[in-house]
């Protein structure tokens, strides 16, 4: 469902590729033993290597390599048995070595595919060009002193995966779907936490426009787009900017542009002519990286069930709708929670309760699933009580609210508060008789054709029985008694 933009000269198509930088989950940095913990005091997580002291040498973190391979496998990608670390040379105060160790000609992961889910329920394949490992830079801080800049090297040398897509994305919605899906996969794999606010996942967007089916246009690269929303807004703005230029007879300049989230515009950062010559060459301090097929297979054996597979399984195994399945698999923990609830229970009921009740109240209270006061087993227990007619669905909502507040089990609450459903028809019949006797006018009106009053009688009976009467029994008895004379 490629989105086209209507211009003055007709429709335009957007051609978009993304470069995502994902910080690898690992205790230590790519080439040093320093910690990668987020939020530490400035310059407290800096080894001699990270500070590029004279004579220091990088030593590759093998766990990070495993994480990259794991990610490559999760993206259905080819893992390269030999890859090479190269130096990308440029000067900046937060780049202590004067070069970033990255992979250029020989990345660790080659071509792959990410399936994205579009709002209309269709699925589209986006090609992955490559994934390579590289060092993160430190952080320059310019707002702490009137004439000085500060440098924090805590992030210097942390491992990043740069994941490059093919220019297969055709609009802001697809871009958002791509980013969300990629983040979901990385989180499932446990290779990146995907927190864009903390900067552990960052996106650059390459975009050009063309007449549908026409030759590719000149592209601009947009940097600093740090949320899914920002990606969508930046693409919308940039596409319209380019279309306006082209329709006015102008030409697009190949350049790097910066997204300004405050003004909602992109602005030129540097042109192609000003682009750095990074003078890449193989890092002589590091040997080529070899990953054997045995290593790849042993990593493959540890892969979790990935989102797409899980989604289809939920639809087949539990008979859930595409929508419910998609909501439930959005996070691994959520899917696990659901499967615990659904265990030995009606799966559709379980899905409804997880999605509507549990996620609803957690959202309202701004809580994550991990913080839920109601465990999956507890919610499963509640659903069992509904299924075996111990309580009605309506009472169950009250019980759930109580569970959420107190953390108690459903059965304990039902017991404590005497909420067990009354199914004894004799007891219900007595109350029904009472209600009929107390409301002669309404009974007459009902019998003369005001059918809508039936709800009034149900309400009265339930009220007298504190909602504990079995609704089916109440309906049946009322119908019999009201209509029977």
């Amino acid at each position: 469902m490629a989105q086209l933009i209507q211009g003055e000269t007709g429709e335009w198509e957007m051609v978009i590729g993304m470069e995502v930088h994902a910080q690898v989950i690992a205790k230590s940095k790519l080439f040093s033993g320093a910690s990668t913990q987020f939020g530490a005091e400035p310059n407290t997580q800096v080894s001699l290597v990270d500070a590029a002291m004279p004579g220091m040498l990088p030593v590759l973190n093998e766990y990070v390599v495993e994480q990259a391979v794991r990610t490559g496998l999760g993206l259905n990608s080819k893992i390269n048995n030999v890859s090479v670390f190269e130096r990308k040379n440029y000067f900046y105060p937060d780049l202590p070595q004067g070069y970033q160790i990255s992979q250029f000609q020989h990345p660790i992961v080659g071509e792959g595919i990410i399936e994205i889910d579009l709002p209309d329920g269709t699925v589209k394949e986006i090609g992955v060009t490559r994934l390579h490992l590289e060092q993160d830079a430190g952080k320059s801080v310019h707002d702490q002193h009137p004439t000085k800049s500060f440098v924090d090297l805590n992030r210097s040398g942390c491992a990043l995966m740069e994941i490059v897509s093919e220019p297969d994305i055709r609009g802001p919605e697809e871009a958002a779907a791509y980013l969300s899906k990629l983040r979901m996969i990385l989180r499932y794999l446990g290779t990146c936490d995907g927190n864009m606010e903390e900067g552990s996942m960052r996106a650059d967007v390459n975009i050009s426009v063309r007449k549908p089916g026409g030759p590719l246009g000149t592209r601009a690269e947009i940097k600093n787009v740090n949320s899914v929303k920002a990606v969508q807004m930046a693409i919308e703005y940039e596409a319209r900017r380019q279309i306006e230029i082209l329709e006015d007879g102008g030409q697009i300049v190949q350049e790097t542009r910066l997204w300004d989230p405050n003004k909602g515009v992109t602005r030129s950062m540097r042109s192609k002519e000003e682009a750095h010559d990074y003078r890449y060459f193989p890092d002589p301090d590091l040997l080529p990286l070899h990953v054997s097929n045995d290593q790849i297979e042993s990593i493959r054996a540890t892969l979790p069930e990935l989102p797409d597979v899980k989604k289809h399984r939920f639809m087949q195994e539990y008979g859930l709708s595409l929508y419910d399945s998609s909501v439930l698999i959005a996070e691994q923990a959520r899917a696990d929670y659901f499967e615990t609830v659904a265990n030995d229970n009606d799966a559709k009921l379980a899905a409804n309760w997880v999605i509507n009740e549990l996620l609803g109240i957690l959202n309202k209270n701004d809580k994550a699933l991990a913080e839920s006061p109601v465990s999956a087993a507890q919610l499963g227990g509640l659903i069992k009580l509904i299924a075996d007619d111990t309580i009605s669905g309506k009472i169950a909502k009250d019980v759930f609210a109580e569970m959420y507040a107190s953390g108690k089990d459903a059965s304990a609450i039902v017991e404590e508060k005497g909420l067990k459903q009354v199914t004894d028809t004799g007891a219900i019949e007595a109350v029904v008789d009472e209600v009929i006797a107390e409301n002669p006018d309404n009974v007459a009106a009902y019998r003369s054709g005001k059918d809508k009053l039936f709800g009034f009688f149900v309400g009265q009976v339930m009220k007298k029985m504190q909602g504990k009467a079995n609704p089916a029994a109440v309906n049946e008895l009322l119908k019999k008694k009201l209509g029977g004379r």
Partner: protein, 494 residues
């Protein structure tokens, strides 16, 4: 006690063990000699107090029966090795005042075996040079002179190390060799020096020049002493990914000097036009010595030799241009005093901090790596490097070790060859090929030229076969019986 400075390391170790003298006395003798030879400018940082303290500790260890393999032996340490708490400059203004908070693996290994450090030895700035004249702290002087009395270069880049050992102000020294920086100074100063196989010694904590070529080694006045020092320096280091995970052989057991049955390759491409007759003659003499010792002489060809030097001057500057990017004035070392903005800070700091030769090589290196030139220079050079390496592999199918001159001249007068960088670069013509192939190579003094200056012979071995190199070197050492002393020492004695 001045004769203590004329001992070999092996002899001194015996003397210490026999309690003929203490490590403190041995160290003091070298400090006294160093003070007297200050005009040679061997040390850029003297660490005499530290040396005496280390010597005192050494004496205690020896008394307690815990002496290490080199306990109490005073050495000079090239100022390219980072030494914890002791200024390390690479003889560059940009690192002046830099005091590392860490110890290089090589010096840590030596200290663990009881070595005493007399001082940080002079070198060409960032080890870039063949005459020690690019040092920010002034050139080092060779103790050898001719009748003209002119100051001569000790060679480079490890000039301070070689001069100190030749002048008997250190018993031995560490050096580094990227394209000949140990072998050429050893030849110029009439001492022995070995560059082991690339990967034999850790590069961790050694200021980098060209990472794929840099290799630590040592100087001493005998082959045996070199074996002693190298044994302590070498070994696998997990902190250096290019350091080899293989055991260090017992180099001392290779010192028989028995070359019977060994095949000695004589590379014909090393017979270059215009080679001084004295060097040609010494080479022939070396061949005769080995023949007399029972070795078989084999003519071999290393057809890509003539490309080694130009290729080296692409790869080494390329790596250097990147390795030296970290000296930016941001975190340590020099930062130019006045600057309006970041770019100006970089330009002024690096402009003031680096000497001309460094700037020249950074520019060459930046050029050969830049877009549009990378394939023509850097990639091509890497391919040629492989061919050079293959030449050696093929040659070693016919022989066990190669014999060649170390350098195309003896020590020249300081200031010569300064007008044309290429003339200076030609000093490395015989040493660079082995560096490109990562092979072990050693220079041993063979005799004096007609001016009375020492000349070295170079033995190049198979990768990881320092033992055969030592064996052949020992054989030449015995045959050459090189006992001449630098004129400055004779003058002093007189």
């Amino acid at each position: 006690m001045s004769d203590l400075t004329h001992l070999t390391i092996a002899g001194a170790l015996k003397g210490l063990e026999n309690k003929d003298f203490t490590a403190k006395e041995l160290t003091q003798a070298h400090i006294t000699a160093s003070e007297a030879a200050k005009d040679l400018n061997c040390y850029v940082t003297e660490t005499y107090d530290l040396a005496l303290a280390q010597a005192a500790n050494s004496d205690e260890r020896r008394a307690a029966g815990n002496a290490g393999a080199l306990d109490g032996i005073p050495l000079a340490i090239k100022d390219l090795f980072c030494t914890k708490g002791v200024q390390t400059t690479a003889c560059s203004h940009i690192l002046e005042g830099f005091v590392p908070q860490y110890e290089s693996t090589v010096t840590a290994n030596l200290f663990a075996d009881g070595v005493v450090m007399l001082g940080k030895a002079n070198l060409d700035e960032f080890a870039m040079g063949s005459s020690n004249t690019t040092s920010y702290f002034g050139n080092c002087i060779n103790p050898w002179k001719t009748s003209d009395g002119a100051d001569r270069t000790p060679g480079g880049s490890s000039g301070g190390s070689a001069s100190a050992v030749a002048a008997r102000i250190a018993m031995g020294a560490t050096g580094t060799d990227t394209g000949g920086s140990i072998r050429q100074p050893a030849s110029f100063c009439g001492i022995s020096g070995i560059k082991p196989t690339y990967g034999r010694c850790s590069r961790w904590g050694t200021v980098a020049f060209a990472s794929s070529l840099d290799q630590a080694g040592c100087f001493a006045r005998t082959v045996e002493d070199n074996a002693l020092i190298l044994r302590s320096m070498a070994g696998h280091d997990p902190k250096d990914s290019t350091s080899a995970d293989r055991p260090v052989p017992d180099f001392l057991s290779a010192l028989s000097g028995d070359v019977k049955g060994l095949k000695i390759g004589i590379p014909k491409e090393y017979r270059v036009d215009g080679m001084p007759k004295d060097i040609e003659a010494l080479w022939e003499q070396g061949i005769e010595w080995l023949k007399d010792g029972g070795a078989e002489i084999v003519d071999v060809s290393l057809p890509h030799t003539k490309y080694a030097l130009p290729t080296y001057y692409i790869i080494a500057p390329a790596e250097a241009s990147s390795n030296l990017a970290r000296y930016d004035g941001v975190r340590y070392g020099l930062r130019a005093a006045e600057h309006e903005n970041l770019n100006e800070m970089y330009k002024k700091t690096r402009g003031e901090g680096f000497g001309d030769e460094i700037k020249r090589r950074i520019m060459i290196g930046t050029y050969v790596l830049s877009a549009g030139y990378y394939d023509a220079y850097y990639i091509k050079a890497q391919k040629v490097r492989r061919l050079i390496s293959d030449d050696f592999t093929k040659a070693y199918e016919q022989c066990d070790v190669l014999l060649a001159p170390t350098a195309p001249s003896s020590a020249f007068v300081i200031g010569e060859n300064e007008d044309d960088p290429v003339k200076m670069y030609l000093n490395d013509v015989f040493t660079v090929p082995a560096s490109m192939a990562g092979l072990p190579a050693m220079s041993v003094p063979g005799g004096l030229d007609s001016q009375g200056l020492p000349l070295g012979l170079q033995i190049i071995g198979r990768a990881w076969d320092e033992e055969t190199v030592f064996k052949v070197a020992r054989s030449i050492e015995r045959a050459a019986n090189f006992t001449a002393l630098p004129q400055t020492l004779i003058k002093k004695a007189a």
